[in-house]
Amino acid sequence: MTSVTAAPSSKRSPAGLSAGARLARAPWGLFLAIAFAVLLVVAVVAPQLLTTHLPTTIDYGAALQPPSWAHPFGTDESGRDLYTRVVWGARDSLTIGVGAAAVSIGLALILGTLAALGVRPVAVVIDRFVEILFAFPALLLALLLIAIAGPSAATQVLAVGIGTAPGYARMIRGQILGARNSGYVEAATALGHSRWRIVRAHILPNALRPLVAVFALSIGQSIVWASSLSFLGLGVAPPASEWGALLDAGRAYLTTAWWLVVIPGLVIVAVALAATTIGRHIQTRLERGERS
């Protein structure tokens, strides 16, 4: 939700950018975000490189230990190393997050483009449809889909993707309409270029360039939404070490073992922040390029 509403305002005026621009301009912030992203990619591709244990190794002798040198993130009720579980859980969490972001942006692209450029009746109907879906807050739309299809990883990807799509669809429609009303399109029309050529060569490239940044932002958002669903017990089931599921499992030990909830949560926050920082940086770069 954050990124959806933030993006149009930053387009409207240079000042709207300031919050993100400041964050993006601090080089240490960007550097940290990129380093963290690289670490995450390693965790997804080859988690064994970052860990010495296995996420399923049970050791009841070491149950519920607070963070220490041997177990930097502590251990859970079965003595499993939380650091290992978090690293191995990256694959589930990021697959769901990236998948949901892809579903969301893909769907938004189709709906937004049709609503902006479709033939008159189609465009109006799609536009209304997007408005109707937008009336449901993302989390509630996702919950509605889960109620129908039952909780699973696939439902989670679709639910988060569809839940967040209406906001992006609106944004894309706005971008395309903005490009269509611009001077260069007017010039191309005056030169006698065909409608299709104008759409392909001028409107779409200009309207959709910001999507690179939006995609990065939406990955962060999707991971947060998806883990919210797991946290409610409506996503991936607990044996998996997806981060939201770790949180849900850790809630039972909140009074005795704070690290089981605080640390996976901190990792999710860090991922979301990294995605936001990288996304905003791309956004700033793109807009600076447009202006010069």
């Binding site: 939700m1 954050t2 509403t5 933030a6 305002s9 409207r12 005026s13 240079p14 000042a15 709207g16 300031s18 919050a19 993100g20 621009a21 400041r22 964050l23 301009r25 601090a26 209304r128 449809f129 408005e131 109707i132 879906l133 009336a135 449901f136 807050p137 993302a138 989390l139 509630l140 739309l141 919950l143 509605l144 889960i146 109620a147 129908i148 299809a149 039952g150 962060g220 947060v224 883990s227 919210s228 946290f231 409610l232 017990g233 409506l234 949180l247 809630r251 909140l254 009074t255 704070w258 909830v261 605080v262 949560g265 901190l266 999710i268 926050v269 979301a272 922040l273 936001t276």
Partner: protein, 351 residues
């Protein structure tokens, strides 16, 4: 980059402050200068109301078809949800359920009945609790609305104090301020809630861990919703605040000898909070859906916890009832914001 240079392009026709500045004289404009304005306002309001009705009808339609989309035979599903187990049903059992829920009738008639029921305030009957959905929602709604409104009020207080203290105070303070805005706006409710619970509930013991419905228990849940909301609103308010600080009326106030705090509180703030007012419809929707998570963390009664239980047991009438209700509230709140803008915006004229 803390202050926007005067040369930066400021498309004034797009910004709210110009409209609000003139709104003070709006009454005079209404009655004397433009006789066509009344009609223009009425027409715009009618259009907006019409669009809102279309959206609500669409939302109800989505809710109705969501109930049909439940996989498998509906009567069997309803019986299984009631019993809490999957088993084979006799035709007699199924027949009774089909008759009770009107499942034998053509879909189009069911749809019309559903819409008619919604207008009359009937959201259907819960599969699991044998009770009308309105009764189930009704007894939990008060708690959630209280939480939601408390959270919005708290968010406003936090946002106004934070922005007034940090906006336009030089690059360092400004950077700190906006970084905090961005970070808090992105905090997931479940994590923030648990941190607050650990620190203020378990650690300091200032507030109860299980909030229940005690007055003291609302503080942590409301804060959990308010902090990200405050960060989100602060992002746009800060931009507007810093822009307003460079406006001529600030300069003239300074020349009259007004102090920094007077300027910030009496002049700049009034302009700067406009974007946050625009967001209030959205904020209501966000806090109502955020309540789903917060009520779960703090074991607080409300429609959020009812919703999670209903999603778990696939009790679709309850799920669609709550989701539709929130959509209605969201659309209505946005319509009100829109109407207020249309009425106070002096630029509107029939073209």
């Amino acid at each position: 980059m803390t202050r926007i240079s005067p040369s930066s392009p400021a498309p004034s026709e797009l910004r709210a402050p110009a409209g609000v500045e003139a709104a003070a004289g709006g009454a005079a404009v209404l009655s004397t200068v433009r006789p066509r304005r009344g009609r223009a306002v009425a027409l715009t309001l009618l259009k907006k109301a019409g669009a809102a009705v279309v959206v609500l009808w669409g939302a109800a339609t989505v809710a109705f078809f969501a109930q049909l989309a439940l996989p498998g035979d509906r009567a069997t599903t309803i019986l299984n949800i009631r019993a809490g187990q999957v088993q084979l049903r006799t035709p007699a059992e199924l027949e009774q359920i089909r008759a009770q829920y009107g499942l034998t009738r053509p879909v189009i008639l069911q749809y019309i009945d559903y819409l008619r029921g919604l207008i009359a305030g009937d959201f259907g009957t819960s599969y699991q609790q044998y009770r009308p959905v309105t009764a189930i929602i009704g007894e939990q709604l008060g708690s959630t609305v209280t939480l939601s409104l408390t959270a919005i009020a708290l968010a406003w207080v936090i946002m106004v104090v934070w922005v007034t203290l940090t906006a336009g105070r030089g690059p360092r303070v400004g950077a700190l301020g906006s970084t905090v805005d961005v970070v808090t706006a992105g905090l997931p409710a479940y994590w923030l809630g648990i941190i607050l619970l650990l620190v203020f509930g378990l650690g300091l013991r200032w507030f109860p861990i299980i909030s229940g419905s005690s007055p003291n228990g609302i503080v942590l849940p409301a804060l959990t919703l308010a902090i990200p909301l405050a960060g989100f609103m602060a992002q746009s308010v800060r931009t507007e605040f810093e822009r307003s600080l460079d406006q001529p009326f600030v300069l003239s106030a300074r020349m009259r000898g007004m102090g920094e705090w007077g300027i910030r509180l009496r002049h700049v703030l009034r302009h700067a909070v406009i974007p946050a007012v625009t967001l209030s419809g959205w904020a209501l929707g966000a806090t109502l859906s955020g309540a789903v998570i917060v009520e779960s963390i703090f074991s607080r009664p409300g429609i959020g916890s009812v919703l999670v239980t209903a999603v778990n047991s696939q009790d679709l009438p309850v799920v669609t009832g709550i989701v539709t209700l929130v959509a209605v509230v969201y659309v209505a709140a946005n319509l009100i914001v829109d109407v207020v803008y249309t009425v106070i915006d002096p630029r509107l004229e029939l073209s």
